[in-house]
């Protein structure tokens, strides 16, 4: 591995952690996943084509490790991430609105964790990590048409959970957690 690639991988760490957190919903499991993905990427750096996107390649490695871990029963596949230092500060800014935002974002994170794994990873790659449909299809080894259908199903389902009549927000504010 050359120094440029190494520096680029280090620069990707915040985004790799974000993707892993969205997949697993747990900080510890997410960092375990990032660690495993980085170790594998370093080991197999010869397989990466210079000039192609390093982030897409690493997302693919992480996605494969995650699916393997779920299949082997190492991950429960669904968690709830509670820690949100950002929103705690936000409460001081504008009480009611900030609380509403916090609840909404909390409900969204919950909703994402309730999606089937294959919809969850497509949703995170496209909507959070800004990968194109083509890059997402390559990362997951599925056709672009499948990316589109998983993506629309995931977003419709999320809308039902967060904004719909049987919304999750009521459950969250009711102190279910």
């Amino acid at each position: 591995m050359d120094k440029r690639t190494k520096a680029e991988m280090i620069a990707l760490l915040p985004r790799l952690r974000r993707f892993a957190r969205g997949l697993t919903g747990s900080e510890v499991e997410a960092d375990d996943l990032v660690q495993a993905a980085c170790e594998r990427a370093i080991q197999r750096i010869g397989q990466w084509q210079p000039g192609t996107r390093l982030d897409s390649w690493m997302f693919r490695i992480m996605q494969n490790l995650w699916i393997d871990a779920i299949r082997m029963g190492k991950l429960r596949g669904s968690h709830l991430s509670v820690v949100d230092p950002e929103s705690q500060q936000a409460q001081g800014l504008d009480g009611e609105q900030a609380t509403m935002n916090r609840l909404t974002l909390e409900a969204v994170r919950r909703g994402v964790q309730r999606l089937p794994p294959d919809q969850r990873s497509v949703l995170l790659l496209v909507c959070v990590e800004g990968q194109s449909y083509k890059e997402t299809a390559d990362a997951l080894g599925i056709p672009v048409g499948t990316v589109m259908s998983r993506l629309s199903r995931a977003r419709l389902a999320l809308n039902r959970m967060v904004g719909g009549p049987d919304s999750e927000i009521a459950a969250v504010s009711g102190g279910e957690a």
Binding site: D2, E8, R17, D84, E86, Q97, V126, M148, S152, V162
Partner: protein, 266 residues
Amino acid sequence: MKQLDANTLVAYVDGELDIESALQVESLLAEDSEAREIADMLRDSAALVRAAHSHVLHEAVPDRLLDIFDRAPVTDELGGDIVPPYLVNMILDAPEDGRDTAAPVLAEATKQTVPAPAISLARRRSIAAFATAALFAAVMVGGGMTFQKYMTGVNQAGLTHQAKTLAAMDDPWREAAFQEALETKKSEAALIWANPENGSSGAIVPVKTYRRDDGTFCRAFRTVDTGAAPNQPNYGVACREAGEDGRWVKTVEAISTPGADGKLQF
């Protein structure tokens, strides 16, 4: 919603359709209020999912992840002796083993040469200010989704401008990280920054420390930047200028790419 299926709509909302298909979808949307509602919902859901995960970018990367890269074998010596000789009077550190003690040496030596480096506090304040701004932005996205709505009408001619605007959004983060890295990081130690508003991130790595014959300290650095436009400089030299309140000012910038023989090309 008769002629529009959810898959086409989602591709339209995500900007994945070619311009012709996008125009077709828009004319159908104009006379289909149900489809417009679904399009809005698809757009809002993307913004919400992004906002719900942005806080991870604020967190410090745990040491155990950085340690993996300390152990990783590195094959080439990118950024060797490419500092123009006229700039360099004295090489303070020549890291044979990839590590050095330049930063402490620099800090020690500076006590005598540069008057009171009062920049430190100001710099911390500015970083805190950016963090607060980002916080506000995240809350805005979670609440109103105005940014996404604003993005809807972007046509193709506007996209280049949009990309430039987005790259410029990173400038405060980039600059704060740049000052922090050159002031506090040892050579070959990376400082990582991330802009939670748009997901861009980068690293600044000081690679060598020098002193000009007027006593000013200069450091060569490399940058990696996921948010930058293509063909931006990724290597340079900056000096801590007394006339600029001790801020690090870039004096040389270059694009470096390793050639076939592993040597740098400019």
